[in-house]
Symmetry: C2
Subunit: 411 residues, 2 copies
């Protein structure tokens, strides 16, 4: 029985999850592959740190020793960030190793060069865990939707933002309180900028776009907004209207990308996606609308995606990774249907005249206000006036119904 | 460039959808496969019926002519029901054709013999479209969750029942009215028995069980209940409590199978699945909880599953169809945690004494009633007494939260 040598880079949350999954599932993995597997080395930052649990594999603090005299067959990168991850992956591919990564920042920025290098070297570079945590988003798109053209994708791709918004809504706590809890629970990093500013979701959207359409939108043209400015009152107001605020990625086949907080109604497939769950709603021309939901972060869920990627290296032919399905970028005129917005502002700053003007523009207006807050909210269906409006927040609302979508497909 | 000959059996909703998808997508399919495809024949029931749209392939009313002198490479069965589908599939496999089918009744009953025959003949028998319409449930389970053990599956697998329940809730119409609309829209068959009695979902659950665990529960031990007796008042009562009635399939790794109406709360991943959508919530030991949602019926969605199956015959190795992942049946003690029930009955038949008895048994009781109906409802958490209860309906309630499930996985 031949042997597969695996090296693991990093022993943080993801690395530890991968380590224990490989160890715990060794018999099943070996049975599925018909080969033995062995952890040939683990790269750690601090060799002085006591680690009683990791006695089954040699620990190294120098990357050179990971490649050693005889390079491993597979390198799993669980370090994150651009450097030194980029250098280590490049070196591994050059040494003829398959590489598995969960590193969305790196793949969004340098994925193309790494994929090209892998092809040149006749090895594979796979990264299911970089988008949607444990959800097999990338492989579903490329392996199970071969003939389906992806028209647009709508997703909750940042578990931390989703957890914060869910927690504010259900407990009535403020943004800083929810963020602190997310950090305590280990969902958010000590520096949560990438999560709450929408950058983490943006990187994942870039990986997705390249994966589906073979190309990324221009980085500077994408609209990226995080949840840092969301106030509790706004979430509560929305709830009175039967709406929930979700931090969404919206990507379509004309390469228009928006990453921002959006209100969704109770019929929307992403309405019920709560806590640290992620979800992706994929609209295709043949199947219709397929939604995948699951844990977007966490050691075990991410380890699941990485171990499944590992099995795919040895269990399938290499057709999928290198051969995209049929989706392509579509040139589309800018004509968009009228959108619904929730406009929120301070009572004293919004005159009756402003409201009248909006009504005159053919908008459907509804007024809701919280008893103890000096806010006013208007539901507006139509094109927003270009002139500045005296509202503190303007959220787009997606009134997309699962049943309507299904009927559209069926009738 | 070599050629793949395809024969299509049946030109109903599914057959017509497959026909037009194959025709419309011919260039892309040929590009993906690097082979030409040709419809070598279509089997129809009534040769006298005028069909101006089907000029691209010869129409036959005798099955023998479909196999002809040189058998097609692939036979797509879109007839439904046990006979003559079973005979035609058997004959096709014997003649060395791959077979694709959407026929859950047949696969639930005779799948094993057909799979065995396909193996003997060195061809493949695939049937993604038989469970969950366009959702790639079967292939996700077998191709993307190789190392994940499936602990339990919870699904909405009958689009007609889901449409009827959704429609009653949102419009306040009665069961017969909703059923009539479902028939008008073509969701329900002229004889809707299989849909509304839960048999359609039951067959799909049997296909799923065999697929995941390699074995079916005993047919006579499964609890199967349809939505035929559901009253509008019950749905409205449930809504007052924040609950929705869903017709669910509940299958676990001890081979316990229940197919019946269940109440779910707004945090449950299947709460927002409305209209003819289907959804499957797959609980695994590593990834956690993965939910797939999409159109459960309709010509195009079903055609999508069939055409994707067709591509998989020629694009992947044959490892997956014949090599299940690691899930296995678990022997489990009968100890189940206390369940929550909604008990609904006529006011005049439920004494204060009954309520007191239930309260004394340590249950958490809550009372709701509609102003204009003589009904009473009690929310009960605990084990139901064995003695007969004076309620007309007793629904189990699933208070499963996406965020809680995710936390369970993560913490």
């Amino acid at each position: 029985m031949s042997e597969i040598k695996i090296a693991l880079l990093g022993l943080g949350t993801v690395g530890t999850g991968v380590y224990s999954s490989l160890l715990k599932r060794k018999p099943e993995i070996e049975q599925l592959l018909g080969k033995r597997i062995r952890l040939s080395g683990i790269l750690i930052k601090n060799p002085a740190k006591p680690r009683s649990d990791f006695q089954k594999a040699p620990l190294y603090s120098e990357f050179e020793k990971i490649l050693g005299k005889e390079a491993p067959n597979v390198v799993i990168e669980a370090i994150g960030g651009i450097e030194p991850a980029r250098t280590y992956i490049t070196r591994s591919l050059e040494a003829g190793c398959h590489v598995i990564s969960a590193n969305k920042d790196l793949i969004a920025r340098h994925g193309e060069e790494l994929i090209r290098l892998a092809k040149e070297k006749g090895v594979r570079f796979v990264y299911e865990a970089s988008v949607g945590g444990g959800i097999p988003v990338l492989r579903t798109l490329r392996e199970l939707l071969r003939i389906n053209k992806v028209q647009h994708v709508e997703g909750i791709l940042n578990g931390t933002s989703n957890f914060i918004l869910s927690h504010m809504r259900t407990t009535g706590c403020t943004f800083p309180e929810a963020l602190e809890l997310a950090q305590q629970k280990g969902y958010a990093e000590p520096d949560p900028t990438n999560d709450i500013e929408g950058l983490d979701a943006f990187y994942k959207a870039m990986v997705l776009s390249k994966w589906i359409y073979g190309v990324q939108p221009l980085w500077e043209e994408a609209e990226v907004k995080g949840i840092g400015n969301v106030r509790l009152e706004e979430i509560q107001l929305a709830e009175q209207l039967g709406l929930r605020l979700k931090h969404l990625v919206l990507l379509d086949d004309s390469l228009e990308l928006k990453v921002k907080p959006v209100l969704v109604d109770s019929e929307h497939p992403l309405y019920g996606v709560e806590g640290v769950d992620n979800a992706v709603r994929i609209q295709t021309d043949l199947l219709g609308c397929l939604t995948l939901q699951g844990p977007g972060a966490g050691a075990e869920a991410t380890a699941s995606a990485i171990v499944e990627d590992f099995l795919s290296l040895y269990e399938t032919g290499s057709v999928y990774q290198d051969k995209p399905a049929v989706s392509e970028v579509v040139q589309r005129k800018q004509a968009k249907e009228g959108t619904t917005y929730l406009l929120i502002g301070e009572k004293e700053h919004i005159s009756g005249e402003t409201i009248s003007v909006l009504q005159l523009q053919g908008a459907v207006l509804d007024t809701v206000s919280l008893p103890d807050a000096s806010v006013i909210a208007l539901l507006y269906a139509g094109d927003l006036p270009v002139s500045p409006l005296p509202f503190t927040s303007i959220y787009p609302v997606r009134l997309s119904s699962a049943s309507e979508a299904a009927e559209e497909v069926l009738l």
